[in-house]
Subunit: 144 residues, 2 copies
């Protein structure tokens, strides 16, 4: 059995936030949008249906947790959810906060504008912010 | 309580295939790609998390059924799954069959090339093909 290794392109483009039971959550290093990806820590998974049914359920629960967290934190005009994988086939689920005044609105973000770098401090602040809200939202879930 | 009405833009851009327990499944009238959408038949739903947890589960089960069916029918190089909704906020979940020789590969399809019309016969044939495979895949699921 193969071991999970994060795809080098995802490694390069994103910063670790935290590990959930199934997925690793990472912030895409593009300051144009609050934009995170969930990547199941399992080898050889390209499509959602390559996961077992029980892992699919966990994936979508983790996606809902991330969506709720981003919604509370950033109050988006719209959230974009996508698993494309044409260039990086390793399954990664995009969650992108969209605003009507963001640089690509109302188009999908891919290929619109170049990545905008975070400063080191902006990046670590945003990672911490998301990490904290996920912790809060998870514990809210547990005690519900 | 509001009643579900399909958004006029989706009505215009797509053809009815069949109703699943939660969603209506429709074929986007763009012959560039086998491309379907799942739309929960519920009013005022924009994000997946606007659905109850049990409806979210049903949505993802229906999405897995559609994905399996498209995979068996079209043997894609990659499937693209997305809920964007920047222009049409009513929740609709895209499932797009991608090939390395399709007109937009490897980019996401939105905004790449104009819609290519199906002939009436191509459209009705494709609708029937997808309807039949979904029926086969659903019954396979039930008897498993």
């Amino acid at each position: 059995m193969n071991t999970f290794v994060l795809h080098p392109q995802l490694q390069k483009d994103s910063e670790f936030i935290l590990d959930l039971p199934l997925c690793t959550l990472r912030l895409i290093k593009d300051a144009n949008y609050p934009w995170v990806i969930l990547v199941p820590r399992m080898a050889d998974i390209q499509e959602v249906i390559d996961l077992s049914e029980s892992h699919q359920q966990t994936l979508w629960q983790e996606s809902a947790l991330v969506t709720r967290s981003l919604k509370h934190l950033f109050t988006p005009d719209k959230l974009n959810l996508a698993a494309l994988g044409n260039m990086v086939p390793q399954l990664h689920l995009h969650h992108i906060v969209r605003y009507q005044d963001d640089p690509s609105w109302p188009k999908p973000i891919w290929g619109q504008v170049p990545f905008k770098a975070y400063s080191d401090k902006q990046l670590s602040d945003r990672v911490k912010l998301i990490k904290d809200i996920i912790a809060t939202e998870s514990s809210a879930e547990v005690t519900m």
